[in-house]
Symmetry: C3
Subunit: 270 residues, 3 copies
Amino acid sequence: MEILNNIAADLTAMREKKPLVHNITNYVVMNETANAILCLGALPIMSHAAEEVEEMVGIASALVLNIGTLSPDWIDAMELAGKRANAMGIPVVLDPVGAGATKLRTESCKRLLGNVRISIVRGNAGEAAALVGIASEVRGVESISVAESVEDTARRLAATYKCVAAVTGETDVVCDDTRLARISNGHPMLGKVVGTGCMATAVIGSFAAVERDVFTAAVGGLVAFGIAGEIAAKVSGNRPGTFHTELYNALYAITPEDIRSRGRVKITNG
Amino acid sequence: MEILNNIAADLTAMREKKPLVHNITNYVVMNETANAILCLGALPIMSHAAEEVEEMVGIASALVLNIGTLSPDWIDAMELAGKRANAMGIPVVLDPVGAGATKLRTESCKRLLGNVRISIVRGNAGEAAALVGIASEVRGVESISVAESVEDTARRLAATYKCVAAVTGETDVVCDDTRLARISNGHPMLGKVVGTGCMATAVIGSFAAVERDVFTAAVGGLVAFGIAGEIAAKVSGNRPGTFHTELYNALYAITPEDIRSRGRVKITNG
Amino acid sequence: MEILNNIAADLTAMREKKPLVHNITNYVVMNETANAILCLGALPIMSHAAEEVEEMVGIASALVLNIGTLSPDWIDAMELAGKRANAMGIPVVLDPVGAGATKLRTESCKRLLGNVRISIVRGNAGEAAALVGIASEVRGVESISVAESVEDTARRLAATYKCVAAVTGETDVVCDDTRLARISNGHPMLGKVVGTGCMATAVIGSFAAVERDVFTAAVGGLVAFGIAGEIAAKVSGNRPGTFHTELYNALYAITPEDIRSRGRVKITNG
């Protein structure tokens, strides 16, 4: 399948080029997302001070913004960094953690989406719904149910913000204005470790650092992360602590051949 | 034993209801406490911005405040969140990390205890002593010795702040104005991993989210966490890194039957 | 070898005295550095509020400053803490994470080095070069190449700031104005886990808390941490998640005899 070949090639390119991925992310997952990026083959930078984010973005190949433990000064820094990324032409990935749970989260995301050209938004169905004003039930940072199908919400999100929408759940949906991918990689144990959604976003950012087509980068990140989850689950069984450790092992061990042979993607016209 | 049956039933209820537990906690253990809550069966939210904490508390079933890496703006947010929790009638659990080590810590705790109705305070003997003005020797965030017995300090803490006092050590003591429990679950390896005290507090918060009697919730949290420590120690031996991983596995695997058969609690009149 | 005997004795002293090591460090590695300190045998404190750092330093035996996710208010607190440490005569260890990557980082380090008497600076070659104005290539927080030899950069760093310079890489170099040590312990897997440089600095701080000769403390920290990396790599192979866990196990298990038999240090006149 062509997209899997491209993703496999991106993984090889990432490990050769070791691109810098700049993250302004939440306190809970800072270590976890940095290790996910490093294990896969890129180089993480974590930096949030308004005084340096623009300069730091200047040496990066992708920027990941994650509002998981947001405060107004961090959102300011995210906007500064995002504008610099836009000026440089590098991709910006947004993880709208908990959008819909509080006004601050929903409005901060909308502000970032309004003032920065975001390439990819990666969230769960509830977060995606909140960003496009669709009724949904969320519980904190978990999505319970959304009034329309995940595909429709993803399409609406992509159309509203002219971005790639990556909406994760049992089946992940990635779409832009012309294409829609359904990805069925992954494992339920990913729901038993805090921050795996944030790690998926960071992995998408790592692919975006080497892949010009941001749709392919989003699919690539979710395929690679999902396969890593499957590999980790096989060795760790029903043990979330062990699974967490094995997830890093799997991100480090995953090969381009794994992408080609285990990737499960269906692409249709959007 | 009746209280063990209640705790076992609370564990089942927690896994069915998956209550949201809102944490305003320290940077060092944010990931660890969130994973402890998730592994056991509840859902963690981490959020600290004054601009959103009241709204976030509004969807939670319990609030955990932990001053481990406090700064004045975080204490302000804790107070806002605590008052909202009081208005809603959900329990507030306080972990006074390092009370007694600096004036800021002792006074911030007293301010929270004065302005917010705290249901449960979980600390070591030195922290408890600092909050009631008893002489003690602390070393940073470790308790060395206290001028009176742990039971007396716990009783004094409970009486002073009209709360449940949960004072942990070799034997944990939990008391309110009429009951006192001695819990002898746990394992010395818990002292070899950073943040296990904070994790115990978070687990107490998870029980408080489903158990109306906060005394039972405090005992339940310490029994469940202590048993998890025992299970983890059995597989990991003298290896703190492995023990840390196994602690999550054990929190995930622990059953109501484990609570009933392995819980070691003695209750007397306060 | 005399220095290895001294380091072995320091390890024993650390485990007996359990000195407090105060860290003002970055969000990414706070948990990791605290656990490294605790596993080895000292007691970590993490505290950053300007309102309490001086008081907290007052009970510590060493201070570790790490600018990994710096912001101006944290640098202010580092300076306050550093001056108090100077007044008390306890050692201050600086980790200039990412110096050279942004002006804020380079200048913040120079400010700290100007206003606080720093005992030991532990960084990679690129960071060291940035602090003494030598041309180098850095990528974010990674050092790629430096215009002069690591030994020359280390000597220049030590001379410029009248400190012990500990410059880590394939071979670690530690020097003051009269001595230079080359340490060849360590393992490439240390480069596959985020924050192992920061952990090495924290371990140096733990040695500095019990060893008056700061040159020996710096060598001791790198020898002990390097040996722990070797032990961890032997059991974990090519798996960075497992290696991360085993690193804590190894720091906990390492013996004075391991230091004497496995330490690989060559000392020459500076």
